[in-house]
Amino acid sequence: MPDLATLFEQNAAAAAAEVVRCERTPLAVRTAVERAAEGARTIVLCDPEFLPVPLFAGLRGLAGVISKPDEEQLATAEVGVTEAFAGVASTGSVCVTLGHPLIGATSLLMPLHIALLPADRIVERPRQLFDPDRFNGHGLKRNLVFITGPSATADMGPLVHGVHGPHRLHILLLE
């Protein structure tokens, strides 16, 4: 039986998400985000609520980062970077809590969503996030969304990735 991170990686890839393992240092995070967002002119960062803020510090200096985006910039930006509250191994989903400033827009409106997921916050099955003893019971209390791969549709005939939501979901698995 592979460990949860490996299972997560396999299942996220099966759901058409990109997963890259990344050291949990500001420099490594910066390099990984830079690589994933290559060519993007506008990036919106959403400050973390659960991860340490310094981990994001290196990102502010990246080219294209908009420091205090207004709504028009949010509507047209190319990349959104958020943390993920938790991950689910069996489905390859990242779970994003809402309510924090910018997180709704940055996880939804931009064509590329980069999510930073700490490997130690991966649970085996989705329902474990509904366990009041896990993660301070936030899974039961907060507004949240399980994100499994990029937005997709089969309504136009073949399966198409990239509909209203992000066209790419890029997960940095922080070890």
Binding site: N11, A14, A15, D70, E71, E72, L74, A75, V88, S90, T91, G92, S93, L98, G99, H100, P101, I103, G104, A105, L108, R125, P126, R127, F130, P132, L140, N143, L144, V145, F146, I147, T148, G149, P150, S151, A152, T153, A154, D155, M156, G157, P158, L159, V160, G162, V163, H164, G165, P166
Partner: protein, 757 residues
């Protein structure tokens, strides 16, 4: 009886035939669907179907999840009035509003009023079948409010002006090519739009601005939690997230039956829903929101920043009445996953524009149309053949065929009795409650009676059946299609033929059994019965043959439930003394076996009797496997594959109900153990489905369903020539012979031919 297939326009718009309270519309819709929609419907539903089998197989606790989901829903519906009060409190405490609408009209009026009072000009909508039920779009548009459907399937339907054909993929009947043609025509664009990507981009670009500038976002809800006011919203496109997050006002509409007690109890549902619906581990987005959301709504420059506002519109529209109806109450457990649509062979062939009403479609759709509208709107549920393939697929364990049999009973009861129907029902002993069923149903439902007399005077009846005038009369008066080959009645029934055979051999038998002489074996495929006796006696069993009494399958399939109950009691009375005396019951016809195993639970008065009888029944090959295991013999010691006259390559088509009750795989594996090279079909049903394919109104549909099976046989034949066809069901046998003009053996007949001992 007038020929209803004549004098019809060749192509009709789905809207015109959406209401099937008149039977003519059902027949026209079937024809429209077969002519136009079948290729896309088939491809898309079959993709969902195979994905579902894969996804549910990956859930290690699939059955436990289903049990848990069922338990939660049963409790929720029992406590529904309290839950409505609880969710009102929870949502209001968070600053939201709740409106409980008794009728569709009330719901529309409330939503329209909110939009008018807030000066809304543009509403963006996520997919909500409930909003189709209440006809929300026309109500908003009548007030000059623009409605932008943002789910791409709903967008297609809005452009085309059609109603949904599937409960989760409403435009499943559209192929990519037809969408291209539609968009080019309606949007007058010169863009090629010749790929899924191009069409998606085209729609996205049109809709992005709508999201950003919408005054109101309207969504449905997959489930609601009473304790926290949480909505569970499942989607793959991201449009529901946008509609609930970007505009300042969010209105969620939902039937009251979607409320469950607690948010924590949503846990078993969201894996089940995605796996059972689209066949994904989870859909792209599963949101749990307790609105109004905390973060401020989106306000582009030029738009005033407003405070968030949330309205939950709970819709009764007949649901509380359904709750008081023992049959329709079951439909309230439905979580709208669509597994029963995708696993249905008829649905896979015609989709929801034929197998559906104005809003709801498929096996579960009839109960919903009847519950939220009127009984007659459920007429399309006649396309449920009772094949039962959906039963094991339902995540909340609804016995969908039983719902549809009850709807058929009510529709029969609502009709005026016909003179011919009255004569036939008096003669054949139909129960009083069933006497207003149409003559055709009385005939098929009491087939045992007509078969008994037909075989008693077989010379005469076979002459009639072989004559074109006889067939014309049968078609005209009984609805039996002339194009179907009818098997002549045998000179001797199974019961009679068995009396002439040697008595049971063993003094100390390996097993004691009774072969239930089902109507189709006794008056039709007698050889199957004789082969069963031969094989089981060779294995040392002491086996008798029962009297031929109907078990009620035929009556049940016509919605003649009172008659079916009578038949079931008779069959149980015939078999019970033998079972009490220690005999197992062997049942050749799988649809009869499924009666004993499942349907008798509804039909017998005593639960205990049902359980005892059910546990004593066996498919013949299943029984062979049991006897082999008991004696410790290997299959190859008893059966010699080299004796098979048709060679060692087989094509085995399992009967739909046989698969549901788990009797197909023992046959398949025994045949392999003996040394056969076995190819199998993976169609859900052959399309004949008992009497369904014999009916004149459904012949074309039945053959279109069968075409899938015939193609699979042809494909398997490519590998080394024609395979011997093996099928366990009587009607599958007739369908395979009709489609392929080749003989078909029951597995037990094949085994009888290759016995070593």
């Amino acid at each position: 009886m007038p020929d209803s297939n004549l004098n019809l326009a060749p192509v009709e718009a789905p809207r015109e035939i959406a209401n099937k309270s008149e039977r003519a519309n059902l027949l026209r819709a079937i024809r429209m669907a077969l002519d136009i929609e079948m290729p896309a419907v088939r491809r898309n539903t079959q993709t969902f179907n195979s994905n579902r089998y894969r996804a549910t197989a990956l859930l290690p606790d699939y059955d436990a999840l289903k049990d848990e989901a069922r338990r939660i829903k049963e409790k929720a519906i029992a406590e529904l009035p309290d839950l409505v009060q609880n969710i009102k409190t929870s949502v209001r405490l968070r600053g939201g509003n709740v409106f409980v609408a008794n009728t569709a009209k009330d719901a529309c009026r409330y939503i329209v009023d909110i939009c008018r009072w807030r000066g809304a000009k543009l509403v963006v909508k996520g997919k909500s079948i409930t909003s189709e039920e209440i006809h929300l779009n026309p109500a908003l548009e009548a007030e000059g409010i623009e409605v932008a459907e943002s789910d791409l399937a709903e967008f297609i339907l809005q452009v085309a002006g059609e109603q949904p054909s599937h409960i989760i993929a409403p435009a499943i009947h559209y192929s990519r090519e037809r969408i291209t043609a539609l968009f080019k025509r309606k949007f007058r664009t010169k863009l090629p739009l010749d790929t899924g990507e191009a069409l998606t981009k085209f729609a996205r670009e049109r809709l992005r601005g709508k999201f950003l500038y919408a005054d109101v976002g309207i969504t449905g809800a997959n489930l609601l939690a009473a304790d926290t006011g949480t909505l569970m919203l499942v989607e793959s496109e991201g449009n529901i997230r946008m509609a609930s997050f970007l505009p300042p006002i969010h209105i969620a509409i939902s039937g009251v039956e979607k409320i469950i007690p607690t948010r924590r109890e949503m846990a078993p549902f969201f894996e089940l829903l995605s796996a059972s619906g689209t066949g994904q581990s989870l859909s792209s987005y599963t949101s749990f929101l307790s609105p109004p959301l905390d973060d401020p709504p989106f306000a582009l420059p030029g738009k005033a920043r407003k405070a968030r506002e949330f309205h939950l519109v709970l819709i009764d529209n007949g649901r509380l009445k359904m709750r008081d109806d023992a049959v329709l109450r079951e439909a309230l457990y439905c979580i709208r996953c669509s597994a029963c649509l995708n696993s249905c062979a008829n649905f896979q062939t015609v989709g929801g524009h034929a197998f559906g009403g104005e809003t709801y479609s498929g096996g579960i759709g009839g109960a919903w149309e009847a519950g939220t509208g009127k009984l007659e709107n459920a007429r399309f549920s006649e396309l449920c053949t009772g094949c039962s393939r959906c039963v094991n697929q339902c995540p909340v364990r609804i016995d969908i065929p039983w719902l549809n049999e009850n709807l058929a009973e009510r529709l029969n009861g609502a009709a005026a009795p016909s003179p011919l129907g009255s004569v036939l029902s008096s003669a054949s002993g139909a129960a009083n409650d069933d006497r207003s069923a149409p003559a055709s149903k009385i005939f098929f439902g009491n087939y045992h009676y007509f078969a008994k007399w037909g075989s008693r005077y077989s010379d005469m009846s076979n002459r009639i059946v072989a004559s074109s005038r006889g067939r014309l009369a049968m078609e005209r008066w009984l609805g039996v299609d002339r194009r179907r080959t009818l098997r002549p009645f045998p000179k001797e029934t199974l019961v009679h033929a068995a009396r002439r055979l040697d008595a049971n051999p063993a003094k100390s038998p390996t097993a004691k059994a009774i072969l239930y002489a089902d109507v189709f074996t006794n008056y039709g495929l007698v050889n199957r019965g004789l082969a069963t006796l031969k094989v089981l006696r060779a294995l040392g069993a002491d086996i008798l043959v029962s009297e031929c009494v109907p078990e009620g399958r035929a009556a049940l399939s016509q919605g003649m439930i009172a008659t079916a109950k009578n038949h079931a009691q008779r069959a149980a009375a015939e078999l019970e003394p033998h079972v009490a005396g220690g005999r197992d019951v062997v049942v050749i016809e799988p649809s009869s076996l499924a009666m004993f195993r499942c349907d008798f639970g509804h039909l017998l008065d005593s639960r205990v009797k049902f359980q005892i009888l059910s546990a004593s029944t066996y498919d013949p090959v299943e029984y062979v496997v049991k006897l082999l295991a008991r004696s410790g013999q290997e299959a190859r010691e008893v059966f010699d594959v080299a004796r098979s006259a048709g060679g060692q390559k087989l094509f085995f088509h399992a009967h739909c109900q046989q698969k549901t009750i788990g009797c197909a795989s023992p046959t398949e594996s025994l045949l392999r153990q003996i040394g056969f090279d076995v190819a199998t079909s993976n169609v859900e049903c052959c399309g004949m489905a008992g009497s369904f394919g014999y009916k004149k109104d459904f012949y074309e549909l039945s053959m279109a369903v069968g075409a899938d099976l015939f193609a699979q046989v042809a494909e398997a034949d490519k590998d080394g020539g024609k395979r011997t066809l093996v099928a366990s069901g009587t009607s599958c046998t007739e369908q395979l012979q009709a489609g392929l003009k080749r003989p078909v053996l029951h597995p037990i007949e094949l085994l009888a031919k290759i016995l070593k001992i």
